[in-house]
Symmetry: C4
Subunit: 232 residues, 4 copies
C-alpha cells in the first residue's frame, strides 16, 4: 500500500475540510489529490458521509479512469477530475463543492464579475461559467463532457492563475497545487459569490473593480514581485 499513502491522506484531509468549512451538506461534494509521478489520484468514494471517511476509504484511480486500488466505487464525478488532471498542467488537486452561493451563480448560468479586491486577490477577472452541456455530450459521457466544458472555457488562460470555474446548471469546480489548496479555493469562491450577490442587492448597477486596482491586488499576491504571504 505504501506508495499511495501520501495522496490518500491528502485527499482524505481535503474532503474533511469541505465538511468543516461548510461547503457541502450530507454526502455532497468531493476532492481528490493527484500524484503525477505515479500517474494516479486519490478521490472520495461515492455517497459516503464525511464522518465515515478515512485515508483507507479513498479510491485510487489512474489516468485511464480505472480503479488502481480500493474496494469502494469512486465519486460519480471522477471523470471530471480526470479530464482536469489530464488537461491542466501543474494542478495536483481538484474540488467539487455544492456551496449555495456558487451554485446559485452556476444555476443562473452567469460568470461572477470582479467587483472587489477580495475577488482580485484570487483571480484577475471574471470567474467564468461554462455553457450548458448539450444532449450529445450527456449521452456520450456526462462527467467527461463536464470536464471538457471547463477546459474549453479556460482555453487561453493559465489554469493556476484562475483556479475556479462554474459549470452551468451544476456548480463550482476548483483546483490548485494540492487537494487542500483546491478546497480552500472553493471556500474563497463561495465567499466571493456571496459578496457579489450582496453587492448587487445594494446596487444592481455596481461597477467592476477598475483595472488598476484589480491588477495591483492580483500582482501583490501572485505576480513576480508578490509580497503577500511568506517567502517560500
Amino acid at each position: 500500500m505504501g506508495r499511495f499513502d501520501a495522496i490518500r491522506e491528502e485527499a482524505c484531509a481535503a474532503n474533511l475540510e469541505i465538511d468543516r468549512l461548510g461547503l457541502a451538506i450530507l454526502t455532497w461534494g468531493n476532492a481528490s489529490a493527484f500524484d503525477p509521478s505515479l500517474g494516479v489520484f486519490a478521490i472520495k468514494p461515492s455517497g459516503l458521509a464525511y464522518g465515515e471517511l478515512g485515508p483507507e476509504s479513498m479510491v485510487i484511480v489512474d489516468l485511464d479512469g480505472a480503479v488502481a486500488e480500493g474496494k469502494l466505487r469512486p465519486s460519480s464525478d471522477t471523470k471530471t477530475h480526470l479530464v482536469l488532471y489530464r488537461s491542466f498542467a501543474g494542478i495536483r488537486g481538484v474540488c467539487h463543492s455544492h456551496s449555495p452561493y456558487a451554485v446559485a451563480w452556476a444555476q443562473a448560468g452567469r460568470g461572477i464579475p470582479c467587483l472587489g479586491t477580495t475577488h482580485a486577490d484570487q483571480t484577475a477577472g471574471e470567474i467564468p461559467c461554462t455553457p450548458m452541456i448539450g444532449p450529445e455530450a450527456v449521452a456520450r459521457d456526462y462527467e467527461e463532457g463536464t470536464g471538457e466544458l471547463i477546459v474549453e472555457t479556460f482555453r487561453g488562460r493559465k489554469p493556476l492563475e484562475a483556479p475556479m470555474a462554474l459549470v452551468a446548471g451544476h456548480g463550482p469546480f476548483t483546483w490548485g497545487e494540492g487537494a487542500m489548496d483546491a478546497v480552500r479555493n472553493a471556500a474563497a469562491l463561495e465567499e466571493i459569490a456571496r459578496m457579489a450577490l450582496l453587492t448587487y442587492r445594494i446596487d444592481p448597477d455596481a461597477a467592476p473593480l477598475p483595472d488598476h486596482v484589480m491588477r495591483k491586488h492580483f500582482e501583490r499576491k501572485h505576480g513576480p514581485g508578490a509580497y503577500y504571504g511568506q517567502p517560500s
Copy 2:
C-alpha cells in the same frame, strides 16, 4: 417493551438530527419511524425540547391514530404522518421541519422549479406545493386534511422518487425509507430551496435545467443503472 425499541431509537436519532442539522429551532419540527410489520410508528412527543428527548420519550402510535405505548402526548402533527404511512407504500419515515427557506416557498404557495443538478439529484422535476387547505378540511380534522392534501398533490407520482412536498402556508414534509432518510431529505430540500431563491436573486428569469441534464442526474443516482453511492 422490547418490540418497539428499534423504532424508538430510530425516531429519537432522527429527531436529534433535525436539531443537529439546524432544520428547526426550539421545539419545532418532528420525525417518526414506521414499522409496517408491527403496524405502528414512533413519533416525537409534542412540545418537548430536543435536549430532553430519549428513545423512551418517543410515543408509539398505531394506524388508527391511537397511542399504543407511551405516557406523553404525541406530536400535534401525528395524523399527518399517519395519512402518509397509510397512503404512500414503502415509506418508513416522515419528517416535518420548519427550515426557513422551505417555509418561505410554502408561505409563497409556490413549488420549487428544478434549476440545477443539486435539485435533480433528489427528484426529477418541480418540488410541488399543495393548494391552501380549505375551511371544511380544517373544521373536520386539520392534521388529517393536511396529509390528504399532500397525497392528493402526489397522485400519479411515485412517493419515493420525489420524497418531499411543501404544504401551502405551512412548510415542508419529507419522507423516506427510514426516519433518518426523511430528515436528510428535509436537509436536501432546505438547501435546494435556498439555492433556488438565490438563483432568482441573480436572474429573475433563470431557466429550469434542461430535461437531458435533469434526467441524467436523477438516473445516475436513482435509475436502473445508477452509479452514485455504493452497491448495496
Copy 3:
C-alpha cells in the same frame, strides 16, 4: 441574599440563552426576570460581555426603578422593562434582543404580517411595530417612553397572547411567563421575521394566511382545547 436568588439565576440563564441562540452579538441585548410577590426584577448589568455574567452580577431593581441590590449599573434599557412589568399583567420575563431580521423590520417601521403557520403558532395576527418615538418622549425619558409606546400599541390586546413587539427604528422586545420564555419568544420572532422577508423575496405579493388556518394553529397551541405540548 437568599430571597433574590431564584430571579438572579433565572435572569442569568435567560441572558446566556440570548447569546447561545445567537440573538445578539458582543454585549448587545438583555433579559430580566420578575417576581411579583417581591416587587422586583433581576436584569443584566449594562455593557458586560455574556461570558462575564453570573447570577451574582444580575442587578435587582424595584418597580420604582431603584436598584434594590447589586453593585453594577443595570442595563440602559431597564426602564423599558419596568414599564412592561407595570402595565402587562401576568408577565414575568422581558427580553430585548438585537437579532438582525427583527431589527430590519423595526428599522423599516413595519409590522410583520402573518404569512404562515409558524407565525400563527406564536400569535394570531400581525406582529405590531410601534410608531417612531417623538422628540418630547426622548427628552422626558427615552427608555420609559419606549415602554409606553409598546403598551400603547398593545391597547386592547392580551399581552400574553401576542408576546412580541417591534419598536420602530430600534428592535424587538418580547415577554412571557418567565425570563427564559421571553428569550424563546425572541428566537421565534427572529425566525418569523426571517421567513417573512424570504417569502416576500419569492413573491412580493404573498397573501397573509387565511383566517381559518391562522385561528386553528393559534388555538391548537393556545386555545381552550389546546393539544400542543404536554398537559401541565
Copy 4:
C-alpha cells in the same frame, strides 16, 4: 524581548477574535496593537492561517514602516495601519476584516446610512465609504494610499467617535482604543451592514433614524452623561 510582549499578546488575541467572530475566512483579515510610548505596533504576519498564530509570530513594525522585531513578513496591509496610527490621535488598535456584508457595501461604493439605534449606538451618522483609489496612488504606494483615503474621508470628524470606514471596492477598516476594541468594532460594523441591507429589502425607501433618536442613542453610550456600560 520583554518590552513588546504586551502588544504581541494583544495583537495575537485580537487576530484570533477575527476568526472566532467569523469576520474573515482562511488567512484573510488582520489586526494590530499599537504602543505609542514605544512607537511601534504588533501586526499579523502575512498569509498565515489563524490556527498557526501565537504572540511570538506577530511582527513588530515602527512608525517608519520598518520591521523592528520578528522573522516573518508583516501583513501586506501594514502601511494602511501605519497611516492610521500616524494620523488618528489616540487610537491603539486597527482591524481590517473581509466580512461579507461590509465588503458588499464597500464594493457598491456606498456609505451606510444610520437606519436604527443599533447603528447609532456605534456612531452618529453615516458610516462613510471612501472614493475609489486612483491609478497614481496605486502606482506610488497602494497600501499607504488606502490609509490616506481613509484619513481624507474623516477630515473634520473625531476618529474615535466614528471608528469605522469602508474603502471603496475593498472592504472595512475599523479602529479603537485597543486591538480587541478595533475587532469588536468590525463585528458591530458587519452586523450594522447586514441590518441595513435587510432593511432596504423590506422597504427600499426606508428613512434614516430621526436626529433626536440618533443623538440620544449615541449620547447615552458616548456622551458626557453616558449611562451605558459600567463607570470606569
